[in-house]
Amino acid sequence: MTGNYLLQGVTITTGEVRDVVIESGLIVDKASTGTSHEVMDCSGLVVLPGFVDLHTHLREPGFEQSETVASGSRSAAAGGYTAIHAMANTFPVADTAGVVEQVARLGEDAGLVFVQPIGAVTVGLKGEQLAELGAMAQSKARVRIFSDDGNCVHDPALMRRALEYVKAFDGVVAQHAQEPRLTVNAQMNEGALATKLGLGGWPKVAEEAIIARDLMLTELTGSRLHVCHVSTAGSVELIRQAKARGINVSAEVTPHHLLLTEDLASGYDPVYKVNPPLRSTADVEALREGLIDGTIDVIATDHAPHPKESKDTDWASAAFGMVGLETAYSVAQQVLIDSGKSNFERLGAVMSSNAAAISGLAQQGKYLSAGSAANLTLVDPKDSWDPKPQTLSMSENNPFTGLKMQGRVRHTIYNGQFSYRDLSIMQRAGS
């Protein structure tokens, strides 16, 4: 491997067709004379900044029957990701410098994607006392995003403290917005269908009430808030208004909330059980609109692998969550490009550069600026394919199975080396 590539005839996000040159892992404006390049015909492919996922459950340490950092890295590379953020709800919880450093090191060992750990806000995700956020921020893992995801930081005083505290190191609190008392035994979106199916309802107000409160606390503290997996039209409107008022908030939406609706719960198949739950068509429309108009900043997968035994049960006994790393791009293309409502520049922003900015990842989301590390994803927008339950993830809880997908990741380049090439995963980037 030379590490020098000439990507010939590739379409960039503005629609211009040109060549892209990578030398020794870096983007360069023009191929240096006297240097040999591997020339690749990329006609028909669109090059995008390497995707950055803000919300990935890698399950290691503790739940290696669902996923490991290595298997999650493979799935991520196949999905076009060059950076992923490992959620803190592992066992032990990522609430100390030791655990976040371990996760970061496992990511380096896998060598396919940059693994950025997220730190827990509270000790053991229990919502009682702050974890050592400073230690995690100053560790080798350089944590900037803190989240109790899976649980909501519902105590308003604790949430205020967390927002204030992370200002010292330009941190951000990523909130899983779910009022716990309003969602006791919640199993799916509250409404006529939940009533018909006899499943406990998850009311939209349980998400919106926490977001409204957190926006006010963010304004009060002058801090930075990130809202995880926004799922309702009301939440989109709250965030839209807050941004107009100048509150420093960012928000993510998952591919499944952009595509799927609660109707899928009708057959009681727990592959469609997820938290927050799939909502109504009107919510899906509002989420898409928010993504297009800039209210929602990023698409984040909330990739949540579970072993078969956790889903091969009755609905109530089943675990919440679905995988999504390898289908996220196709959903993004459908919502932004195939709909005719947006463009590849916006797609690059919501799949990569916005997330990199929220997390402060200097090497990611840079696209084609000369001298920056080559973290790029090449997609074929015309490739139509059928997702299978089996992906490179260890788990098969894939709700996109059986759907026809348009647009597919063809190559992923991580730090100037291929981690995924011609639909095949590499052992490590470059090998």
Binding site: A192, T195, K196, L197, G198, L199, Y268, T313, D314, W315
Partner: protein, 313 residues
């Protein structure tokens, strides 16, 4: 009919046919020798993950009167309490030769799941799943209402009959199945209960009344169906106290005097006497509670017969 999972599985003709068959079965139950040889050699498994002695006994008796072998499996104290899943338990029982699995489970949709996965191949009867449905209860209620309201009930539907269901509409599987089945049969179904226990989607149907006195006056029902108040609703602020519930939503002597002379009173049992229903109402000539119990056996015989004869054809 392959399974009976929801009252919605039945169209009007199927429902009437089942009720008519249940009338035939009822005649068997009045004979000196209360037994038919029809299901000899078949095995019915009562798989009960929740305690429900009444429903279990009713199914057991129904199966035995049709000469089937019956296995009762109660989750309490069994492998289930040691963490065995629905899938494993059902597969184990099927491996022993079950033809029909009668399932009672606390999780909504569990019967549907058992019927629609590759876990087992048996016919499934939903004997109550979480707060979803309890279709055989609705069938026995429909049978009772039809007998009480129509002189020669065979072949008839419930057109023109006004039913008022009172109680916890949010969590009641009895209410859900009755709403579906009685509506299918042409009855006019109204419901009444505290707003905390009436789902918004139901309220928008326009047939919800919050106060029982208003409901009795407005609806002038032919049938009043009182739902059991579950213990867990009392502790979770759905209504302030048992006394207040009884005062506003309980059927008592004064309300008994205001309903029609021939109005039927139904209750799925077991009754909380003095809470949703007082002794005067429960023991009045309007009370159909024991007819419901009797019809329960007949309806379940009809269901088992229909499922297992369908298999043969």
């Amino acid at each position: 009919m392959r399974h009976l999972l929801s009252a919605a599985d039945l169209d009007k003709d199927q429902a009437i046919k089942l009720l008519d068959l249940a009338e035939d079965m009822s005649d068997v139950n009045d004979r000196e020798i209360k037994k038919l040889p029809t299901l000899r050699g078949k095995t019915v498994v009562n798989l009960f993950f929740e305690d429900s002695t009444r429903t279990r006994i009713s199914f057991e008796l129904a199966a035995k009167r049709l000469s089937a072998d019956v296995i009762n499996f109660a989750a309490k104290g069994s492998s289930v309490s040691k963490g065995e899943s629905l899938k494993d338990t059902a597969q184990t029982l099927e491996a022993m030769g079950a033809d029909v699995i009668v399932l009672r489970h606390s999780s909504s949709g569990s019967a549907h799941r058992l019927a629609h996965t590759d876990w087992v191949g048996s016919a499934i009867v939903n004997a109550g799943d979480g707060s979803h449905e309890h279709p055989t209860q609705a069938l026995l209620d429909a049978m009772t209402i039809r007998q009480g309201a129509i002189k020669h009930p065979r072949g008839k539907d419930l057109t023109g009959i006004k039913v008022l269901i009172v109680g916890d509409l949010s969590h009641s599987r009895v209410a859900r199945s009755n709403l579906i089945l009685l509506t299918t049969l042409g009855a006019e179904v109204h419901v009444c209960g505290p707003a905390t226990l009436a789902p918004a989607s139901l309220v928008s149907s326009g047939r919800v009344h919050f106060l029982l006195d208003d409901a009795i006056k407005l609806v002038n029902p032919d049938v009043v169906m009182m739902l059991r108040v579950q213990q867990e609703r009392m502790s979770d602020s759905f209504f302030p106290t048992e006394r207040e519930y009884a005062r506003i939503w309980g059927l008592n002597k004064s309300r008994l005097a205001r309903i029609g002379e021939n109005t039927q009173i139904l209750h799925p049992g077991p009754m909380n006497r003095g809470l949703e229903i007082d002794a005067a109402s429960a023991d009045s000539k309007n009370s159909m509670v024991l007819n419901q119990v009797r019809n329960g056996v007949a309806v379940r015989m009809a269901v088992l017969l229909t499922l297992l004869s369908g298999e043969a054809s």
